[in-house]
């Protein structure tokens, strides 16, 4: 076990094992204070009291979506990560025969700075690229580029689905987004009948892995078998996604290792890099350049807005002069909007943040009552920026702690009065 930015992690790098049998998060029973906070944050009920004492455990990986919301909300720091690749990545970075490729997600650059004392949400994209270079990554490729590619694929798929309605063998509407791995496992586990509604597009990282080992290898004249791809995410569920057996379309493992924002901060600190004095640098070309549409993938409603920036232009044949489509921006809960597209009509969309909200929209689709064309789902409140792999703010933990204690006090008093 290692302490990584306030969270414990088992530093193993599982290879060739079935990710369905791994606990990506688990409770340390010696630290659990039986407060039950984790249970309130878990949409599936995978984490629950296992004995009279109220000690909690994730009871089975099959019911856990690996989102880590229990972990970031535990006031006692009792939940650890079960899988961490940091040690293996350090070894690969030292090995002259391995070409190590970085693939950071959009939201990482809005959380990483917090580990180095910067204000909440500070954008540190340029410093992040510089830090990855100093760590010794051979190619500074960026998952934001793949987010742009995702929009091309997923937007095109949506337009195809809309156009093919009424034909036989038409794929159903609404189309659900497919970039959030917690949501994907949730749909596969609890709504398997809705799988035809899921976009067949891989997530951005699911696309960047195989692109790196085919297109990237070709463009840089690098033998693909030497490439080791590192996915850097605000998310724990991405570790599960990277290990899915089907993610091997490049002819190799598409994603060799996955770490989260906290683990990247840990690696930068361990390497002795002075993050705050780094100059701002860009990514490497080919698979590095990105747009505003890609960076907003980190927010709830962002994938929707980015897709609409494409769909609007394709469906109307006109230029979208103001790319801000603010109606779909979502802070919490469910947000719905009618987007008017000239020469086409109205595109009806919904955005849900949190799996409990996702379930409501899924039940509607199941009942045949969903009026939407396109639904975006993110497992974490507000989107990836609040993912289970983002830095845990000490003030938030303190306030969670205070609120938990207050709750327990209230229950305690109520019980005493009644007793």
């Amino acid at each position: 076990m290692k302490q990584i930015e306030g969270v414990m992690a088992q530093t193993n790098a599982p290879k060739g094992v079935d990710p369905d049998n791994l606990f990506f998060v688990q409770v340390d029973p010696t630290k659990c204070e039986a407060c039950g906070t984790c249970e309130e944050h878990c949409a599936t009920g995978a984490i629950q009291a296992i004995n009279e004492e109220g000690i909690h455990q994730v009871v089975d990986p099959a019911a856990c979506m690996n989102c880590g919301q229990c972990l970031v909300n535990c006031p006692y720091d009792a939940i650890y990560e079960g899988v961490s690749y940091v040690d293996e990545i350090f070894e690969k970075l030292k090995d002259p025969n391995t070409i190590v490729v970085s693939m950071p997600a959009p939201a990482v650059r809005y959380g990483l700075g917090e580990c180095f004392g910067k204000a909440t949400g500070t954008y540190v994209g340029g410093q992040m690229h510089a830090a990855l270079r100093q760590l010794g990554f051979n190619y500074i490729w960026d998952n934001e580029f793949a987010a742009d590619v995702t929009i091309m694929e997923e937007g095109t798929e949506l337009i195809q689905r809309v156009k093919e309605q009424g034909q036989k063998d038409a794929r159903p509407l609404p189309q659900f987004t497919s970039c959030c791995p917690g949501w994907i496992k949730f749909a596969e586990t609890f709504y398997p009948d809705l799988l035809p509604n899921l976009s067949s597009c891989k997530s951005p990282i699911g696309m960047l892995g195989p692109l790196a080992k085919t297109y990237g290898a070709e463009e840089t004249h690098t033998p693909a078998q030497k490439i080791y791809t590192v996915s850097i995410m605000p998310c724990i569920a991405k570790k599960y996604e990277g290990m899915r057996p089907e993610m091997a379309d490049s002819g190799f493992r598409d994603i060799d290792a996955t770490i989260d924002t906290r683990e990247l901060a840990y690696m930068i600190k361990t390497a002795g890099i002075d993050f705050n004095s780094l100059p701002s640098q860009g990514p490497d070309p080919i698979l590095g350049d990105s747009t505003g549409a890609a960076t907003i993938f980190g927010n709830s409603g962002g994938v929707m807005e980015a897709a609409l920036r494409l769909a609007y232009e394709v469906l109307s044949g006109e230029k979208l002069n103001n790319p801000d489509i603010k109606v779909v921006r979502t802070h919490e809960g469910i947000n719905t909007a009618d987007v008017k597209v000239p020469h086409f009509g109205t595109v009806k969309v919904a955005v849900a943040s949190g799996l409990k909200n996702a379930a409501k929209l899924c039940d509607e689709v199941r009942a045949g009552k969903s009026p939407y064309h396109f639904i975006e789902i993110m497992t974490c409140p507000g989107g990836c920026v609040n993912g289970g792999g983002q830095p845990v703010d000490p003030d938030i933990r303190a306030s969670l702690f205070r609120s938990t204690v207050a709750q327990i006090n209230k229950r305690f008093r109520a019980r005493r009065v009644g007793a």
């Binding site: 109220g54 000690i55 089975d60 596969e188 597009c201 549409a293 920036r309 205070r402 207050a406 006090n409």
Partner: protein, 110 residues
Amino acid sequence: MKLNRRGFIKVCGMMAGYAVLGANLTREAVAATMDFVGLRQKSVYDADAHIYKVRKSQDNPMVKKLYDHKEGFLHDGPCGHMSHHLLHTHYVDRSARVKVLKEKGYKFNL
């Protein structure tokens, strides 16, 4: 959730120090977390509007190069043949294991 013995023992110890705190703190904690998300979200939209020069995926020069009709690696376009091979996937019905757990008496929310 029901408060049990072990919880009680710990709570009694903590109560002395925290009895002064009010009960509105749950709301405060939720609000604090959402503020925190709000700050990160705001920063994302600020970067989209002010830092990124190109705002739409279809205008990214590297994306255009990738999908170039003649020379592009994905020259048959989005959702084309190569895209389907590398960039699309299929899903697996994973409901069976949870069903078995429920039959064994485990309770889940769904």
